[in-house]
């Protein structure tokens, strides 16, 4: 997929949805969603970040590139929407915390959950705690996943985690995002929360969950962190 990366970066910077999706569509014949998200779209957006660091593009270009990636992601989600939802599927909800607008990562996560047969609610970015909590109370998801990209937003995380931990439904809490892979936040994250650094790690977790479900083992919610 490394071969396609430069073309893909160029296409998303040009705002060329057709070409970007064509690249992804062709790759989809041979590659999983996980592969494409992890080895094409994520590196492409990191490359966009690098171009900004090199003063070669502006934030306006980042907006455009994000928009195109968002579109492409929605396209890769499309065939999953055709499968019927069923109430027996486990539920998971996802969002980025308040004042955090970066949302591509958590969108990928939500699609992968769907792919693994979960009933998914994706609540976008910039979600205040009370909204998130209301949703969790009413819908009772088994998993709540959050994403955080801005370092200065990290101090708000424990508040979210504590609130979810108090729910009688005892959801498993997953946290990921750029901040989690590039800063050490272990001091502010309680031990019963799962911190994940990337999508392959998430994928392994999803597989174990699925196997456990098949074997009839209902994994204890709030198992300890993988780190």
């Amino acid at each position: 997929m490394r071969n396609e990366l430069p073309d893909f970066v160029e296409a998303i910077l040009d705002g060329d949805q057709g070409k970007s999706f064509e690249i992804v569509r062709r790759l989809r014949d041979k590659h999983s969603r996980l592969d494409i998200y992890h080895s094409l779209i994520t590196p492409a957006m990191y490359e966009i970040g690098k171009l900004w660091q090199e003063n070669r593009i502006t934030v306006a270009d980042e907006h455009l590139a994000t928009g195109v990636c968002d579109f492409v992601l929605s396209q890769t989600e499309f065939d999953l929407l055709q499968k019927p939802l069923s109430s027996s599927k486990p539920k998971a909800m996802f969002f980025s915390i308040e004042d955090e607008w970066h949302q591509l990562g958590i969108k990928m996560v939500s699609i992968l959950f769907k792919e693994h047969g979960w009933n998914v609610r994706y609540l976008n970015a910039n979600l205040p705690l009370d909204h998130a909590l209301n949703n969790a109370k009413v819908w009772k998801p088994e998993v709540i996943g959050m994403s955080i990209s801005l370092a200065y937003r990290a101090p708000d995380l424990p508040e979210y985690i504590e609130a979810f931990n108090k729910l009688p439904s005892r959801p498993t809490i997953l946290i990921g995002g750029r901040v989690m892979s590039s800063y050490d936040l272990s001091s502010i994250i309680p031990g019963n929360t799962m911190v994940m650094k990337d999508l392959p790690e998430l994928n392994s977790w999803l597989k174990v969950k699925k196997q456990n479900r098949r074997d009839g083992i209902n994994a204890q919610p709030n198992t300890s962190s993988l780190h």
Partner: protein, 251 residues
């Protein structure tokens, strides 16, 4: 005079120490010694790289730390003097209207998405109940080891016939039937695609070695099915009683 210009102005030396700040800059930024200190950690390398080149005039987008917010995007304009010992810097806040639009866009997206969920879920429920309804409008009733009766109710369209089809195939596959009586007494209108689906049921059951007998065909049904009647060698019997009498006695 520089103190009064309506934009934050900062003068730095070659080590990026701050030599002077205008009134406006004092209002906007915290008091620090090095210009690098008001630059976000993850914009610092970018800033340094350009500053170190000491090109005459430069423009940069940087995230700066202000008194009000830990992270704000600015356009930073700079000019190094001839020997590269001092630089004059002006910072221009990136249009905050863009931020507003961005956050409104997010809210809209969110609303659309939630509406989608609800519609999607309602749609799912509806589809499930239609499918259930379709399956229930053609129960498969075993009359004997060899004969079964399928009374069909309501209007016939392709989707309903698909459900009916599934019901019949599943049951026939498991059992050892010779004849399946399909009772049309309760059928209203048959849509065009419905006729086609009926033909398919006929052919498939024929392959499975099962004879299909139609019961209770009304005149308008017969007219519609005429084109296939010959081709499929359909057997029609007027009423269910008669059919049951004929096929159950003697089996």
């Amino acid at each position: 005079m520089l103190n009064q210009i309506p934009l934050p102005y900062i003068k730095i030396n070659s080590r990026f120490d701050i030599l002077h700040v205008s009134d406006r800059a004092k209002e906007e930024f915290p008091t620090v010694n090095s210009f690098l200190d008001i630059i976000d950690r993850e914009s610092r390398e970018k800033a340094k790289k350009t500053l170190e080149r000491r090109i005459n005039n430069f423009t940069l987008e940087l995230n700066l730390q202000t008194k009000n917010s830990p992270l704000t995007l600015y356009d930073v304009y700079g000019h190094w003097n001839g020997n590269g010992e001092e630089a004059h810097i002006i910072t221009v806040l990136k249009d905050s209207r863009m931020e507003k639009v961005e956050s409104q866009l997010l809210t809209l997206q969110k609303r659309l998405r939630n509406t989608n969920f609800e519609l999607y879920e309602k749609n799912e429920e509806l589809e499930e109940s239609i499918a259930r309804n379709n399956r229930l409008s053609a129960p498969f009733i075993t009359l004997s080891d060899r004969v079964a009766l399928v009374p069909v109710y309501g209007d016939l369209h392709e989707e309903k016939l698909l459900a009916v089809q599934e019901n019949i195939y599943d049951a026939v596959y498991e059992g050892d039937y010779e004849k399946v009586l399909i009772d049309f007494t309760g059928v209203g209108a048959i849509e065009k695609d419905g006729i086609h689906a009926i033909k398919e049921i006929f052919l498939t059951l024929d392959y499975m070695g099962v004879t299909v007998i139609l019961i209770g065909i009304q005149p308008h049904h017969a007219r519609q099915m005429k084109i296939y009647k010959e081709e499929l060698k359909m057997t029609c019997i007027h009423s269910a009683q008669e059919a049951i009498k004929r096929f159950l006695t003697g089996t």
